[in-house]
C-alpha cells in the first residue's frame, strides 16, 4: 500500500518536473484558438463550418470585403467595380498580389475560381450562396466580368462572404475518390491571404503561419502574430481550463454562466458581442400540421404580446442581444425595425385569445432544437396566458425535417444568414416560397421579388420596407431576439469581436 502510494506520488512529481508547457501565447508568438468542432480539411469551399469560413478569410482573400463596423463594401482583391448592367458586374483587380505558391494573381485565377464554384457538379459546400453566378469571363489580365443568372443586387455581399479566390488549376491535382469523383477538399490550401496553412491534423488542429509577402495597405492590414493554430477541444469545461492555464488563447460560444465565472480570472478577458443570428417563432399558417390555431392572425398576435422578449435578452442571452421586430437582423442591409411592434402585454394577449375563441387557451406542439433555456423561457411566458405548448426538443436535422414536412405548428428556430449582412440572406430565404417557408404569402413574395430585382440601394430599401411591414402587421412570425456571443481570451491579446462572427486574427496583436 505504502509502496503504491509512493510510486503514484513519484509519478506525479516526475510528471511535473518534465511537463512541457503547450506552445501558445505571447511568449511563443502563437495564437491558439479552440472550438468544439473538428475540421479535417482546410478548404472553405468543401466543408461547411464556421471555423473554415474564419480560416478561409485568413488563407484566402475575396474580391471585396465587408467592413463589419459599417456594413460597407470595401475593396480587397478588386480595387474598383461597376454594374455594366443588372446582370453584369465588372471588376478591376489589384496588381502585384501573390499566391502562397509565388504566382502573381491575375484575371485567369478569378475566372477559374468563380466558374469552378458556380458549376453545380463541383458541389462546393455552400453552392446555394454563389449559385447566382452564371459564369465569369476575362476582359484582360486585370479585369474580369461576372455574369449573373438574374439581377441580384446583394451579389457583392455574397462575394465578400464566400468568394474566396484560388489559383488557376488549383483543383486539378485533386485525388480521385473510389466513386470516380474528385475529392476537391483534399487539395492543399493555397490562397493570397495574410496567413498560409502549414499543417492540417484531421480531428486535432490546423496550423497557419504569417504570410510575409502579403500585399500592403489592404483592408486586412499586415498580419502581426507569427502563428495561428486552430484546435478542436470538444468539452466546454476543458476549453475553459486550457484558457485559464494559457494552453489556448482564445475561445467563443462561452455559456453565460461560465463567462461570468471565467471573468474572475485576471489572465482572461471576457466580452459579449452581437452576432447576425436571429431567434424566431415560425407558425404553421396553412394548418398543414393538423393544428389550425395559427391560421388565425389574432392567435399569432396573442403569442407576440405574451413573450417578454426584453427580459429574455437581458437575463438570458447577454448584454449585446437586442429584441428583433422583423424577421432579419437590424444590422443587415434594408432590415427595418420600423414596423408594427408587439409590446409585452399579457392582458392584451389574453384578450386576443378570447376574441379568437380560446378563452382558456389550447394545447399545441412546439418544436425547438437549440439553446433549450431560451425555448423554456418562451414556453413559460406562453403558459402564463393559458396556452399549453408541448415541447418537442430535438437535433437540428430532425427539427428541420419536421419543419419542411409542415409538421410544426410552432417552430422555434434560429438563422445566422451565413454572415451575409443583407436582408435577402434571411427574409428572402424564409418568405420566397422555398422549402423553409411555412407562410407562403403571395403578396410578400411579390414584394421580395420586386425588391431583389432593383440594383439601386435606396429603391430596394423602399420595397423591402413594404414586405417587412406586411410580415409584421400580419404577425406571420414572432421574431424574438438577436444572439449575442461570449468571447473569452488572453489578456495579452489585443482583439476586437465583430458582429459577422468572423474573428479577425489577422488584425490581432499581442499587447
Amino acid at each position: 500500500m505504502k509502496r503504491v502510494g509512493l510510486i503514484f506520488v513519484g509519478l506525479l512529481l516526475a510528471a511535473c518536473l518534465v511537463a512541457a508547457p503547450a506552445i501558445a501565447g505571447k511568449k511563443d508568438d502563437t495564437l491558439v484558438w479552440a472550438t468544439d468542432r473538428d475540421n479535417p480539411v482546410a478548404d472553405p469551399f468543401y466543408l461547411n463550418t464556421r471555423e473554415l469560413v474564419v480560416i478561409g478569410h485568413h488563407v484566402c482573400d475575396t474580391l471585396v470585403i465587408i467592413d463589419p463596423n459599417t456594413a460597407e463594401i470595401k475593396p480587397l482583391l478588386a480595387t474598383k467595380w461597376k454594374w455594366a448592367s443588372p446582370t453584369s458586374l465588372e471588376m478591376e483587380l489589384r496588381k502585384g498580389v501573390k499566391f502562397h505558391s509565388g504566382k502573381v494573381l491575375d484575371a485567369d485565377d478569378v475566372v477559374y475560381t468563380l466558374n469552378h464554384a458556380a458549376n453545380k457538379d463541383n458541389a462546393i459546400a455552400n453552392f446555394a450562396l454563389l449559385s447566382w453566378i452564371k459564369d465569369a469571363e476575362k476582359i484582360d489580365a486585370s479585369n474580369v466580368r461576372i455574369n449573373l443568372r438574374n439581377p441580384f443586387p446583394p451579389a457583392l455581399a455574397y462575394l465578400a462572404g464566400l468568394g474566396f479566390i484560388m489559383e488557376k488549376g488549383h483543383y486539378d491535382s485533386a485525388p480521385v475518390k473510389p466513386d470516380g469523383k474528385k475529392d476537391f477538399g483534399a487539395v492543399k490550401a493555397n490562397g493570397t491571404g495574410p496567413y498560409k496553412v502549414v499543417e492540417v491534423k484531421p480531428g486535432d488542429s490546423i496550423l497557419m503561419e504569417k504570410n510575409a509577402d502579403y500585399f500592403k495597405d489592404g483592408f486586412k492590414g499586415n498580419p502581426k502574430i507569427s502563428k495561428i493554430k486552430f484546435r478542436t477541444i470538444k468539452d466546454g469545461n476543458t476549453r475553459a481550463a486550457e484558457l485559464m492555464t494559457g494552453a489556448i488563447d482564445w475561445m467563443w460560444d462561452v455559456p453565460k454562466d461560465q463567462a461570468e465565472r471565467i471573468k474572475a480570472n485576471p489572465a482572461v478577458v471576457v466580452e459579449n458581442a452581437k452576432t447576425l443570428r436571429v431567434s424566431y417563432l415560425q407558425f404553421d399558417i396553412a394548418g398543414q400540421s393538423g393544428q389550425k390555431f395559427f391560421s388565425d392572425k389574432r392567435v399569432r398576435q396573442a403569442l407576440a404580446h405574451a413573450i417578454d422578449r426584453e427580459s429574455l435578452t437581458k437575463n438570458l442571452v447577454g448584454p449585446a442581444s437586442v429584441v428583433a421586430h422583423s424577421p432579419c437582423h437590424p444590422d443587415q442591409f434594408a432590415c427595418s425595425s420600423d414596423v408594427t411592434k408587439y409590446a409585452y402585454d399579457p392582458a392584451k394577449a389574453k384578450a386576443l385569445l378570447k376574441e379568437a375563441g380560446f378563452p382558456d387557451g389550447f394545447e399545441f406542439d412546439f418544436y425547438a432544437y437549440r439553446d433549450r433555456e431560451y425555448t423554456e423561457a418562451v414556453i413559460g411566458d406562453l403558459a402564463k396566458i393559458g396556452l399549453k405548448p408541448k415541447l418537442n426538443y430535438m437535433q437540428y436535422t430532425a427539427f428541420l425535417e419536421n419543419v419542411r414536412k409542415g409538421k410544426t405548428p410552432v417552430a422555434h428556430g434560429t438563422w445566422g444568414s451565413n454572415s451575409v449582412p443583407d436582408v435577402s440572406a434571411m427574409t428572402a430565404h424564409f418568405f420566397s416560397h422555398g422549402a423553409d417557408d411555412l407562410t407562403k404569402d403571395p403578396e410578400v413574395k411579390k414584394l421580395i421579388d420586386e425588391a431583389d430585382s432593383l440594383t439601386d440601394p435606396a429603391q430596394r430599401k423602399v420595397v423591402w420596407q413594404k414586405a417587412l411591414n406586411r410580415i409584421a402587421a400580419e404577425a406571420f412570425w414572432v421574431p424574438l431576439f438577436t444572439y449575442a456571443k461570449y468571447y473569452a481570451f488572453s489578456k495579452d491579446l489585443d482583439f476586437k469581436p465583430t458582429s459577422d462572427e468572423i474573428p479577425q486574427f489577422f488584425a490581432a496583436k499581442w499587447k
Binding site: A15, C16, P40, A125, K234, T238, T245, T397, L400, G416
Partner: protein, 305 residues
C-alpha cells in the same frame, strides 16, 4: 472443451452482428443523414444531391447488407467527412485508445489488488473501512465529474499535468486515473472476497503449520489462487474501457477511438460509426470469450453446463 469453445464462439459472433444491426437502424431514427451532412443552412437541392450521392435513397436493408458484405472483406468504406478509408482512420486511432485502456487497467490493478489483500488480511480494520469507502466513492462518482475535478486540481490549480492532447505520456496520467478509478471497486471487492475465502482453506493452514513466513503464505499460496477470477474480470473490464472511454477521451481531447465515435455520431458519419461499433463490439466479445475460456480451463465444472 472443443464443443464449448465452438458454442461460445457462435454466440459471440451473433452478439457482434446484432449490435451492428441495432446501430445501423438507430442512425435512421435520429433524423435524415443527408440533412446532417449538408449542415445548417443548406438548400433542399443540395440535400437531395447528397442523398443520391451516398445512396441514402436506397432501402435501408440494402444499405445494411451492402455495408456488411464490405466489412467482412475488411472494407469499411470511406468516411464522409474525414475523406479517408474508415479502416485507416480506425487503425490510426486504436493504439491511443489501447494505451489509455491499458494504463487505466494498470492503475486500477495497482491500486485495487494491494488494497483488496490488505482488507482481506485485516477484515473490519481501519484499512478495510478505508478500502470500502474508496470503493463506494469510486462506484458512485460520475466519471466526467471526477475527470473535471482532476483537471481543476492537477491541471489548473497546481499546473502539474497537461490537460489535453495525447502527445506525451503525461497526457495519459489524468485520463488513466479517471478511467481506471471507476473499475477499481469491482477489482478490489473481488480480490478481498477471494483472499478471504482462500485464507480459510486447508492448504493455507498446512502452509502455516509448516512454519512458512506469513508473507510467503499470503503472496505465494493465497494470492495466487485468489487472483484467478480477478484476471478474467480485468479482461472484461479492459474491453469495457475501450468502449467506455468516450467520455474520458472527449473531456481530455484524446484522439482515440472513443472520441472518434463521438465525433462521427455528431457528423452522422455512418461508415465510421458502423465500423467503430463493430470493432469495439468484436474486441469486447473476444475479451469476454477469452475470459470465459480461461475460466472454463481453470475450472472444469463450468465446461459441463
Amino acid at each position: 472443451m472443443l464443443a464449448f469453445t465452438a458454442k461460445r464462439l457462435g454466440v459471440a459472433l451473433l452478439v457482434a452482428l446484432t449490435v451492428s444491426l441495432i446501430t445501423f437502424s438507430m442512425i435512421y431514427v435520429s433524423g435524415d443523414p443527408a440533412i446532417a451532412i449538408a449542415g445548417e443552412g443548406a438548400r433542399p437541392a443540395d440535400i437531395e444531391a447528397i442523398r443520391k450521392f451516398y445512396g441514402f435513397d436506397r432501402p435501408i436493408a440494402v444499405q445494411y447488407l451492402d455495408w456488411l458484405a464490405g466489412a467482412l472483406q475488411g472494407d469499411f468504406g470511406r468516411s464522409y467527412t474525414l475523406r479517408q478509408p474508415v479502416a485507416d482512420v480506425i487503425f490510426a486511432r486504436l493504439p491511443v485508445t489501447m494505451i489509455l485502456g491499458a494504463s487505466a487497467i494498470l492503475f486500477a490493478l495497482v491500486l485495487a489488488i494491494p488494497l483488496g489483500v490488505l482488507a482481506a488480511v485485516r477484515p473490519n480494520s481501519l484499512a478495510d473501512r478505508f478500502a470500502l469507502t474508496l470503493a463506494v466513492v469510486g462506484q458512485a462518482m460520475p466519471t466526467f465529474w471526477f475527470a473535471l475535478t482532476l483537471i481543476l486540481w492537477l491541471g489548473v490549480n497546481w499546473r502539474l499535468l497537461p490537460i489535453t492532447g495525447s502527445g506525451s505520456w503525461q497526457n495519459f496520467v489524468m485520463p488513466a486515473i479517471a478511467l481506471g478509478y471507476y473499475v477499481t471497486p469491482a477489482v478490489m471487492r473481488l480480490t478481498r472476497a477471494g483472499v478471504l475465502e482462500v485464507l480459510s482453506a486447508d492448504y493455507i493452514r498446512t502452509a502455516r503449520a509448516k512454519g512458512l513466513r506469513p508473507m510467503t503464505v499470503l503472496f505465494k499460496h493465497a494470492l495466487r489462487n485468489a487472483i484467478i477470477p480477478v484476471v478474467s474480470l480485468a479482461a472484461v473490464q479492459f474491453g469495457f474501457m475501450l468502449g467506455g472511454s468516450i467520455v474520458i477521451e472527449t473531456i481530455f481531447q484524446i484522439n482515440g477511438l472513443g472520441y472518434l465515435a463521438w465525433e462521427s455520431i455528431q457528423r452522422k458519419d455512418l461508415p465510421t460509426m458502423q465500423a467503430i461499433v463493430l470493432v469495439l463490439s468484436v474486441i469486447y466479445v473476444l475479451l469476454t470469450l477469452l475470459a470465459d475460456l480461461l475460466n472454463a480451463f481453470l475450472d472444469p465444472r463450468l465446461r459441463v453446463s
